[in-house]
Amino acid sequence: MGEPSVDGIRILLFAGLREQAGWGERHWPAPAATATTLTPRQLWQALQLPGPLDSVRIAINQQFAEPDTPLQPGDELAFLPPISGG
């Protein structure tokens, strides 16, 4: 068993979600290569983020993704509250 990678997951929150959580950016250690897969859903629960996961959208490396998409070391994960552009 090796040590967890130094290239962890960068986690970003925005707008109302950031204010509810009280933080906008965190770093999560990447699991060792032999560990089970880490997903946005697991991180949402582990970080005890507010509200149901289906109230937000997920982006991995700035592309929309699904809650159970496996995360890779070095990924940027963002939880996006409801969008209102234009």
């Binding site: 970003l12 925005f14 509250p81 969008i83 552009g85």
Partner: protein, 150 residues
């Protein structure tokens, strides 16, 4: 296809942007097509609950917002066969009456130009990571969790 997307941290004048855009197209020998459809969105003077609005704050996801706008515009223009596309969008603190978004689509016919303009506007409202916060006179604020009806 000619495409330009800009995020403005300070007030922009849509008609000035349009003039610059059309001049740039002309210099490049591209006239944007026979039909052009435009949309200019401005900040309302009232909040969602009807209270006077002091300002609208627009947060975005640097990097993803630009990338997503580019993907949405490219896909939409390709679907409609549009030949030019200009998107200008505000970020930061926007005052009532100020422009928040400009979309200008050039195409060969009015149908594709108008349909592309409307479709792209709806797409960026729902698929590009922007968030609006309304600021009221008493200093309170609230994040919006959706868009106004079409």
């Amino acid at each position: 296809m000619q495409l330009r997307i800009d995020l403005h941290a300070a007030a922009f004048e849509p008609l000035v942007c349009l003039e610059l855009w059309q001049r740039r197209l002309a210099v490049q020998g591209h006239h944007g097509g026979a039909a052009e459809s435009l949309f200019i969105g401005r900040v309302r003077p009232a909040a969602a609950d009807g209270a006077p609005l002091v300002a609208l704050e627009l947060e975005h996801y640097p990097g993803m917002t630009e990338r997503q706008l580019r993907q949405l515009a490219t896909a939409c223009c390709r679907r409609h066969g549009a030949s030019s596309c200009l998107v200008q969008h505000r970020i930061g603190r926007v005052l009532p009456g100020e422009a928040i978004v400009l979309v200008a689509i050039g195409a060969d016919r009015r149908g594709p130009a108008q349909r592309c303009c409307q479709e792209l506007l709806e797409a960026l409202k729902h698929e590009a990571p922007f968030w609006k916060r309304e600021w009221r006179r008493d200093g309170s604020s609230a994040w919006l969790t959706g868009n106004t009806p079409l």
